[in-house]
């Protein structure tokens, strides 16, 4: 019987929220509550779905990284114990394929004769190269808006993964009557204010998955959010694994102390 409330909770947690298109409320003074999704990393035993997180990296690399940096993540983070399952050789190859700003050459130059910033092939210790050299360049290229760095985006937003998923899949709704979509902005009722500078980033087939997974907008969003959650919290798996051992230890310790307590106090009453 004790398992019943747990089972109900589990059912609730896995029940996806469906938001019908025609139910966008008129009052958008508060953004819509994030759509609740089921994630592989949910719950005390949650781990990152290896295939999803690698597909998510592909979505980031081929779509998001055109505007969004991922400054706090280095290539070698992708491999190793708390990585997303790439081997050392794969990491090396991924890094080498990236162009990062070169250090000054032996003449002290960082720009070549045609005035271009010189680059070199990346190494695993390099962080992910940013799409823009500085904030001003990023704003100029994006109509004045700054695409935020995505390294901590899942932790830095209320609603976490569900919020990011809702933003990515929240385009294409008809604005309610009387709502003005500002020039150069897009309607997204999950975004505070409803006007977002980011154009709909994902389309069906925007990427081609090598594992044959159908690249729908929802699938791409789900994958890239899994990847970004890993980027925000790469030690989640280690935390869940160690936490389980710690909980068992503390339960046993508390149990033993309780028995000692009963025994010591038996004659005192």
């Amino acid at each position: 019987m004790k398992a019943l409330p747990l089972a109900v909770l589990a059912l609730l947690a896995f029940a996806p929220t469906v938001w019908a298109e025609d139910t966008i409320p008129v009052d958008l003074s508060e953004p819509l509550p994030p759509k609740t999704q089921t994630w592989s990393f949910d719950g005390p035993f949650g781990m990152f779905d290896r295939a999803a997180v690698q597909r998510g990296y592909q979505v980031y690399k081929e779509v998001c990284s055109a505007c969004h940096s991922l400054n706090r993540v280095s290539f070698h983070d992708l491999g190793g114990e708390s990585g997303i399952g790439f081997s050392a050789a794969q990491v090396k190859a991924l890094a080498a394929a990236a162009k990062v700003p070169a250090e000054p050459n032996d003449k002290g130059e960082t720009y070549d004769s045609s005035g271009e910033r010189m680059t070199r092939a990346g190494i695993p210790a390099d962080h992910m190269p940013a799409p823009f050299p500085n904030e001003e360049a990023a704003r100029t290229a994006n109509g004045g808006a700054l695409p935020p760095d995505l390294s901590l985006i899942v932790k830095a937003r209320n609603g976490g993964p569900n919020y990011v998923f809702s933003i990515l899949t929240g385009f294409g709704h008809k604005p309610p009557h009387g709502f003005t979509v500002q020039t150069g902005k897009y309607f997204n009722p999950w975004f505070p204010g409803g006007n977002i500078s980011m154009p709909p980033p994902l389309t069906d087939g925007a990427v081609t998955y090598s594992d044959g997974t159908q690249a729908t907008v929802a699938q791409e969003a789900h994958d890239v959010v899994t990847f970004l959650t890993w980027a925000s919290d790469p030690k989640l798996e280690q935390r869940h694994r160690i936490g389980f051992g710690v909980m068992i230890f503390m339960l046993v310790l508390s149990g033993l102390l309780f028995l000692s307590y009963r025994r010591v106090w038996k004659d005192a009453h």
Binding site: K155, N158, Q238, G243
Partner: protein, 417 residues
């Protein structure tokens, strides 16, 4: 109850040491043989829990300081580096961040317990006041600590709190702003502010540890109060601290740590604000600046007053009031178990603090169930002050307490009663 010492040195070295520096005798008398009322319940375990949490915070904090960089340009990155690159840095940091919240959970239970059982009443006034000082030191330490990760809420929280001093401008023009500038070490919260807050955040825990020593000393002179609130009359009312309370406290400490570590491993950001994962930006103000949960009731009181200076005074007054409680309570009976009216006002007070905390977490113009929360906060503030300054003095005069038991051992020994 600091009665005659029962320590007997067992070896030649122990006798030699005992006549020179009787450390073992001190430890024996305060931690082993110390006569403790036999009827202490779970709520009396929070002293031991608080000592444990102070130790956890100091140990994790010292390790964090080895990796932290107190510089406005590097602080956020250094904290993020701990989370990603330092071995088990995430564990140490989450223990420290959640440790602060659980430290406050424990101190609030400890304070409410003291209020309920009248532990502040003679001869324990100094013990209580030392506790109030400890609480204020904790608040200051937690505030300084929250600034250090240098996220958006760190920066803007520090800006709001330090700006309280500029309210003094309304009394003595320019003096308030001058104090704020002096605190900042500049004309706004910035690098010098971060550096001095780090220095103070490292200093204050050791001041707390020192005052904890005084707090325990002041506890060991009159001895523990107890749920009945009556004095210990003889050895039949007490048990030696060890093993009776070492094992009982030990069990509750383990249980508390179990819950605390559950949050550390499975909901480490539960008490945090997502905005603090965005680096501090002096030109972008977050939509809602809220303090950490443990300061929300005071924040609600501050915001319930439309005039800034009076708001600051109300908030300061709510803290200062705590020190006067031993003299505001006029009742001859300590424990609320025997005070039918006080018991009710006490639980309303607990509820009041929760309502104030809720109001403090919402935006200023929020309305719930048709009630503007600012009015709920105003009523809550009135009750907070009314409870201490009106209810407490009056109840002692008009309330008829229930008859007290003859001794601690009597109701314990005869459960049929």
């Amino acid at each position: 109850m600091s009665g005659p010492s029962t320590y007997v040195p067992k070896s030649g070295f122990a006798r030699w040491m005992d006549s020179r520096l009787p450390l073992a005798r001190f430890a024996h008398d305060t931690m082993l043989s110390f006569p403790t009322p036999r009827n202490l319940n779970i709520w009396y375990a929070f002293g031991a829990i608080l000592t444990t949490m102070l130790l956890v915070q100091i140990v994790t904090g010292i390790v964090l300081a080895m990796h932290y960089v107190a510089n406005a340009d590097m602080a956020f990155d250094s904290v993020d580096r701990m989370m990603r690159d330092i071995n088990y840095g995430w564990l140490i940091r989450f223990m420290h961040a959640n440790g602060a919240s659980f430290f406050f959970i424990a101190v609030y239970i400890h304070m409410f317990r003291g209020l309920y059982y009248g532990s502040y009443k003679a001869p324990r006034e100094v013990l209580w006041i030392l506790g109030v000082i400890l609480y204020l030191l904790m608040v200051a330490t937690a505030f300084f600590g929250y600034v250090l990760p240098w996220g958006q809420m760190s920066f803007w929280g520090a800006t709001v709190i330090t700006n309280f001093f500029s309210a003094l401008d309304q009394v003595t023009p320019h003096w308030g702003s001058a104090i704020a500038t002096w605190l900042w070490g500049g004309y706004a919260v910035g690098d010098p502010t971060l550096n001095r807050f780090f220095s103070l955040h490292y200093l204050l825990p050791f001041v707390i540890a020192g005052v904890v020593g005084l707090h325990i000393w002041a506890l060991h002179v009159p001895g523990n109060n107890n749920p009945l609130g009556i004095e210990v009359q003889g050895p039949q009312d007490t048990v030696p601290f060890h093993p009776y309370y070492t094992v009982k406290d030990g069990f509750y400490v383990a249980l508390f740590l179990l819950i605390y570590l559950g949050f550390v491993f499975y909901a480490p950001d539960f008490f945090g604000n997502p905005d603090n994962y965005t680096p501090a930006n002096p030109v972008v103000t977050p939509p809602d600046i809220v303090p950490e949960w443990y300061l929300l009731p005071y924040y609600a009181m501050l915001r319930s007053v439309p005039q800034k200076l009076i708001g600051v005074l109300v908030m300061a007054g709510s803290l200062v009031t705590l020190a006067f409680i031993p003299w505001l309570d006029t009742s001859k009976v300590r424990s609320s178990r025997f005070r039918p009216m006080m018991k009710q006002f006490f639980w309303i007070f607990v509820l009041d603090c929760i309502v104030l905390g809720y109001c403090g977490a919402q935006s200023v113009d929020a309305v719930r169930f048709g009630v503007p929360l600012v009015w709920a906060a105003r009523v809550g503030t009135l009750y907070y002050f009314g409870f201490f300054w009106v209810v407490m003095p009056l109840l002692g005069l008009i309330e008829t307490p229930k008859p007290l038991p003859a001794s601690i051992s009597q109701p314990v020994l005869s459960p049929a009663e």
